[in-house]
């Protein structure tokens, strides 16, 4: 069963691109959202196995989403126009890809965090599909 990905990205064209790249790589898309509120809403109603997060969405910090994911042991990857120095120390656990991104690197990194999380804990929920 392929993993479900949540994409949080406020730049619509890039969001479309991320969605297409991940879909082409065989992931299922749990949601593509552009705000922190929408992201939390999606996470509460649908299940997902991994997330790709923009660090800053419409001037709002992604921290809320990141800590929500951390609590549930859902791995994630940062995609940001800012370098690593702009992230706070606590965010350093997740890998960071800087825009413009390389599609194969994105897929590889998402797979890596997924397998690392599966090795650390029981695989993320396969209870129900929200699609």
């Amino acid at each position: 069963m392929s993993a479900r990905v949540l994409i949080v990205e406020d730049e619509p064209i890039i969001a479309l691109d991320l969605e297409a790249i991940l879909r082409d790589a065989g992931f299922r898309i749990a949601g593509v959202v552009g705000t922190v509120a929408r992201a939390l809403q999606v996470l509460q109603t649908r299940s997902c196995d991994v997330a790709v997060l923009d660090r800053n969405v419409r001037g709002e910090s992604i921290k809320g989403v990141a800590s929500f994911l951390d609590e549930r042991g859902i791995p994630f990857v940062y995609v940001s126009g800012y370098g690593r120095e702009a992230l706070s120390a606590e965010d350093n656990s997740a890998p960071l890809l800087t825009k413009p991104i390389d599609p194969s690197e994105l897929v590889e990194t998402v797979n890596k965090v997924l397998s690392a999380a599966e090795g650390a804990a029981t695989p993320a929920g396969s209870d129900q599909s929200g699609e």
């Binding site: 730049e11 619509p12 064209i13 479309l16 593509v32 552009g34 705000t35 929408r38 419409r58 413009p100």
Partner: protein, 641 residues
């Protein structure tokens, strides 16, 4: 300055010692010639002057004592053995003159001497006196010739001087023995009133001794020693006196009387030499004092000028200038520095900044820099922060150690420049560059994503032209955003910019209908892209692909459902070729549906009706409009185009 004065004196005495000896020599020669002229008359029994001996011996006593003292003072200064011997000779002569006052007849009382009864005693005293003086003087002259450079060590001055004095006194003691106890056993020197043969021998003997000293002085010391030249002159006068006395051969004669006068004169010569020295020193001192006063005036002027310059610099600059001591206490501060220290000028000297007027932590920080500079002993530049009268300011402080003449660090000097504005500008530039870089990267990412999307979903044959069109659409929106400084964009302007490639159709075939609204930058980009895709699709396949099809683009805000106002936009085509639902959805479809939904958090309905394509967007107004429900106050309807 003391050494300068001394040097002046020595130079002057050195120069003058050429002129003066010739003067004193002339005096000595004239005296001698005058005496020789008297020789035919010296045996005359007149004049009889009652007080003559008293005056002469008293003069001798006083002037020779004074001369002995001056010679001893000279010896203390120069420490030459010859000077000490000469002082001894004069002391001896003075004491003998004193003794003579008591011994010679008719001196303190009429008739015989006060303490001597024999007529021979004063005569013997006289010869002891002359021989003793002549011998010690000869010793001094020889010492000066033999050891011109010898100096007695300082610690030996007093022991040697007291020994010489003791020797002089001892000699006088033995002289007294000879004069008062033995005289009757010695050959008589006076027979009646006349000199005996022994007397003549002793007289000419002392003349020879003095002559020897004169010869040595003229032969060996003439050119280099003023004191000895004058001594030579004194000896010439002494010799003349003895010659006159001896030639007269008898008491109370003219020769005898003039001889006594000559002795008194001779006794005064060296004394006068010292008086002249004194006068010369006074002149030299006065000269040096004037020179000194001139130099001081000159230096004071220079100092005043450089002080004025320093003051102008220190008061004219806005930089803070400080000088501090080893304990970081202020020694000097210019007005700018004093102001920042918040301390009145009277209390500034000695202040460190820890007096409670400034922030303690900030002061401790700059004091640490002060100490570091003094410990390292080299100039350094620091960035320091100080909150004072102008608020919190950043200073670039250059500190350099202050050293004394021996090179020890005794404090520091400091120049501080307020660089707050420069720092602020630097920070701004940094932030701006970061923002520019971020935006550039973002644009690049968007372009890349768009390129990938176009390539993924479109026919490779038309990819290049599609991508180029989309890129210019993106650029057009971007330009608009930039000209509005990334603030809200007027929706009608945005639409016109995106329809610019078919601008001549706006009005005749494309109807725009909606109220003036300002949209957010993100929404503007998405709407711009959507309108671009819709219009190019209409031109290629839809209502604008033939000669009479029409498009109506409408937007409006409508009913607050549960308090949420909605933005609605529709693109309706009519009169074009018959529409079929496409078999495959291209990237354009993704843009006008999913991208717009995502960007505006809304819903898009796309209907491929046979009579024409219909695109409807419904999104919450706060996701689209700039500053939430901000509508342009002017509700005046814009003319439809």
């Amino acid at each position: 300055m003391g050494s300068r004065v001394n040097l002046g004196v020595q130079m002057r005495s050195g120069r003058l010692s050429w002129a003066l000896p010739s003067g004193i020599d002339i005096f000595a020669i004239v005296s001698a010639i005058a005496a020789l002229a008297l020789l035919p008359f010296v045996q005359t029994q007149e004049p009889r002057l009652p007080g003559l001996s008293t005056v002469c011996w008293t003069t001798l006593l006083i002037t020779q004592l004074a001369t002995a003292y001056l010679l001893y003072a000279r010896f203390q200064e120069m420490r030459a053995p010859s000077h000490l011997l000469l002082a001894g000779a004069y002391l001896y002569s003075a004491l003998m003159a004193g003794l003579a006052l008591f011994v010679f007849p008719d001196v303190l009382a009429p008739g015989a001497g006060l303490i001597a009864t024999s007529l021979q005693s004063p005569a013997w005293l006289f010869h002891f006196w002359m021989w003793g003086f002549a011998l010690i003087v000869l010793a001094a002259v020889i010492a000066e010739i033999r050891w011109p450079e010898r100096r007695i060590p300082k610690w030996m001055i007093e022991p040697v001087a007291s020994r010489i004095a003791a020797a002089v006194l001892l000699w006088i003691f033995f002289s007294c023995l000879a004069i008062f106890i033995v005289p009757d056993r010695l050959p008589p020197l006076i027979v009646g009133q006349r000199w005996s043969v022994a007397n003549m021998v002793l007289t000419y003997g002392s003349v020879l001794l003095m002559g020897a000293s004169i010869a040595l002085i003229h032969g060996r010391l003439r050119e280099r020693n003023g004191l000895f030249v004058w001594l030579g002159a004194a000896l010439v006068v002494d010799v003349t006196a003895n010659l006159l006395s001896g030639w007269a051969g008898e008491r109370f004669t003219l020769g005898w009387a003039v001889g006594r006068l000559y002795w008194a004169i001779a006794a005064a010569v060296v004394f006068i030499y010292f008086l002249r020295q004194f006068r010369r020193q006074q002149i030299a001192l006065a000269y040096a004092r004037d020179e000194l006063a001139e130099t001081v005036a000159e230096r004071t002027g220079e100092l005043a000028r450089s002080m004025a310059l320093l003051r102008a610099v220190s008061e004219g600059t806005s930089d803070l200038l400080f000088a501090k001591d080893r304990e970081c206490r202020i020694l000097f501060a210019n007005p700018a520095g004093a102001r920042i220290m918040k301390t009145p000028p009277g209390e500034l000297i000695g202040a460190t900044g820890l007096e409670g007027k400034l922030d303690r932590a900030e002061v401790e920080a700059y004091l640490a820099n002060d100490r570091r500079t003094m410990e390292r002993g080299q100039a350094e530049t620091f960035e320091e922060v100080l909150t004072s009268v102008d608020g919190r300011r950043t200073y670039l402080a250059t500190k350099a150690p202050l050293r004394d003449d021996s090179g020890h660090v005794v404090g520091l000097i400091e120049v501080s420049r307020d660089i707050t504005e420069r720092k602020r500008a630097e920070e701004q530039t940094k932030t701006l560059l970061l923002e520019v870089s971020h935006r550039a990267k973002n644009i690049l990412a968007v372009v890349q994503a768009m390129a990938r999307g176009s390539a993924r979903e479109e026919d490779p044959a038309i990819f290049a032209s599609l991508f180029a069109e989309r890129l210019s659409a993106l650029a057009a929106s971007h330009d608009l955003l930039v000209s509005n400084a990334w603030g809200g964009v007027d929706l009608a302007d945005l639409i016109l910019v995106q329809l610019a490639h078919i601008g001549e159709l706006v009005g005749p075939r494309i109807t725009l209908d909606g109220e003036p609204l300002k949209v957010q930058p993100g929404a503007a980009q998405a709407l711009g892209m959507a309108i671009h895709e819709l219009s190019t699709n209409a031109v290629k396949y839809g209502a604008l692909s033939n000669e009479h099809g029409r498009v109506v683009l409408q937007w409006r805000l409508h009913g607050a459902e549960g308090g949420v106002e909605h933005f609605e936009m529709t693109w309706i085509e009519r009169g074009g070729p018959r529409v079929f639902t496409p078999v495959r959805e291209g990237y354009g479809h993704s843009v006008i549906v999913r991208m717009v939904e995502h960007a505006l958090d809304g819903a898009v309905r796309l209907d491929y009706r046979p009579e024409g394509l219909e695109w409807r967007l419904d999104a919450p107004a706060h996701a689209v409009l700039d500053g939430f429900y901000q509508r342009i106050a002017d509700e005046r309807a814009r003319p439809d185009r």
